[in-house]
Subunit: 380 residues, 2 copies
């Protein structure tokens, strides 16, 4: 991993937003690029658009081969022709988040004030609402007044909640999945050890690794490995690996004696080939900052007062990163303001990552909710 | 942390065991030193000895001020005059584990074959049964034929189980707390990210940091931080820290914005002042190797067949590192061989670390069990 190549330069489809973006931290980003992909066709009434919000390490390639990894789109179970988010029916949009490293403005983008240099570690801190405001500018650019639905899991679900709070009139239906209205102390703690691992890597060079033609690959890999454990359940890890051994039954080995270890090593090393460390710092921090109730005087319900958006909240029984209780708290807040809300806990032992996997109950739930909402929205 | 001083040299009370120790890995350790502390008085019948087994980062200073940190003994709630493990009544022994760094033979000890050099990273891999065999040699040295009780939590509980399996005739009562008969895939995974963080630290120097007058302080701190999160519950972290902020409400800070972050940072940096990285690697590996059923043809009950030892098994409801289900599996195996076993799940929201904290239900349970066992053992 020490010789990890720099991230490949790819021409992502994108739009340069005029006027830039005023961030929560007070900085005005003069250059705002939003990279995005679309699938399906916008109807004449411009009323069938579905925005998919991606998770921490996701990107805009939701339903097609990934240009770096060559793997299928990250939400192939959910988005595509005939899938619950049916690209034969809906115009699906997915944008790389602000602060990301797949074409949207982020730490790898040109510095506003230093020609020829990237932002790097000096990229201003962004928030989940900042990400949503950038997406809103993309939606405006596409000439879409109201999104039929905004859908996302994990950090994507946080964005869905922020969309519903910031732009209620522009969201007909909202589906936050495996998400929460705030980032818990435990989740902040796990993010922090990942960041400390990156900071501790000598190839990090105080965030200016690009000047040294280096990548903090070992630190970023450790961060990814730590996070990856939290995405799975104990049951999923036990079923997948248990205590299975690789190679000879020797007591002398470190590192790849157990299958779970080589799996994690693979997760770590493949991640550094497609993700930028400064982006990882920026985006984990955005999640840590997220606290929708705090933004509304400490009362979560106030974030949604008067909303006409229809909500489907989904949690997974074995998700210990965003446990059902946190999802239920959102349902309670929505009930408090008499919102239209369904709340489903999907029984699954696959942990947080269940939202990305083939979970028939989940896809059925999504299909049913979107069909009902489409009818209510007057979509054929 | 970069200028972390080397571990202090302390004269620990210890015994040099004649003949050394044959390890599970096939290596014969020629030099075996066991560092230990005792509290209370051995009775004339030599029948009132209680062995306390410590956890991963514990040591022999169970009931007195720690010579490095200056903090009270790590199990002050449980061991001392008038405490459940009553030093007015019992002769309490606690030994630093084999592979440790507080005086027992481990990576910091002189290499068997290279005069003037420590073992360092070349210290042979040890197992939990190896640790127990070293303790047995100490007990023999002390002239104790049968231990009244062997008690320990977490990795200490693994040692208790190994004691009961290896030396059933020498253990009257066994109390494994917050433990399991094997290390789960999730636990191995968390250990592995900690080890990878140590390996990634340039000050690790492939395990020969002592030759460079360096300490892999950053990597070891990240390992400790990661592990520390797993010792707590989400509820404990939320109650203790929630999303409380330190200092000004600025979005520009990494690292110590949230109180939970500075707490973790403190846990990491204080740890490196008292613990050796190669010991951490050795001991985490010993835990990963532990699988008592595998050592007995895949049937856990076989580890205990014919046992006359009385068992008290204790788990904590919010412990997700060694969940109650894993403790229940031990109870089931013991029931299968008609052993004398009590199994108590203590209701606590403090996570794995609950066994070290003031949990009245736990101390009451321990007190009651030991009193009953003492009566059965003919101790006044």
């Amino acid at each position: 991993m020490d010789q990890a190549p720099p991230l490949p330069e790819i021409n992502h489809q994108s739009v340069l937003i005029e006027g830039g973006l005023a961030l929560d931290c007070g900085v005005h980003l003069r250059q705002l690029v939003v990279a995005y992909r679309t699938y399906g066709t916008l109807n004449a009434a411009r009323s069938n658009a579905v925005l998919i919000c991606h998770a921490l390490t996701g990107d805009q390639y939701v339903a097609e081969t990934h240009p770096v990894s060559g793997k299928p789109g990250w939400w192939g179970e959910m988005v595509g022709p005939g899938k619950p988010v049916d690209t034969d029916k809906y115009f699906v949009i997915c944008a790389n988040v602000l602060g990301g490293c797949m074409g949207s403005t982020g730490p790898r983008s040109p510095h506003d004030d230093r020609p020829g240099e990237p932002w790097g570690i000096e990229f201003p801190p962004v928030t989940i609402p900042d990400m949503v405001r950038a997406q809103k500018k993309l939606i405006d650019h596409l000439g879409i007044e109201r999104l039929f639905a905004v859908v996302g899991g994990s950090m994507g679900g946080m964005q869905v909640l922020a969309w519903a709070a910031l732009y209620p009139a522009h969201v007909f239906a909202a589906v936050p999945v495996a998400a929460a209205a705030f980032h818990s102390a435990q989740n902040i703690a796990f993010h922090e050890v990942g960041r400390q691992a990156i900071f501790a890597d000598p190839d990090f060079h105080a965030g200016r690794y690009w000047q040294h033609e280096a990548i903090p690959a070992r630190g970023l890999a450790v961060a990814r490995m730590t996070a990856h454990i939290t995405y799975l359940s104990e049951a999923a890890l036990s079923r997948k690996f248990g205590r299975k051994l690789r190679g000879a039954d020797s007591l002398t080995w470190f590192g790849d004696r157990f299958e779970v270890e080589s799996y994690l090593e693979h997760q770590g090393s493949s991640f550094v080939r497609r993700f930028d460390a400064n982006s990882y710092l920026t985006i984990t921090r955005a999640m840590d900052f997220f606290d929708l109730a705090a933004d509304h005087g400490g009362v979560l319900a106030e974030a949604f007062r008067g909303t006409k958006t229809r909500f489907l909240l989904v949690s997974f029984s074995s998700d210990w990163l965003f446990p059902t209780a946190q999802c239920r708290a959102i349902a309670r807040a929505l009930n408090h303001v008499a919102a239209n809300v369904s709340f489903v806990e999907i029984d699954s032992d696959k942990g947080h990552d269940a939202f990305l996997l083939d979970e028939p109950d989940f896809t059925r739930t999504m299909r049913g909710f979107l069909a009902g909402a489409a009818e209510a929205a007057g979509l054929t």
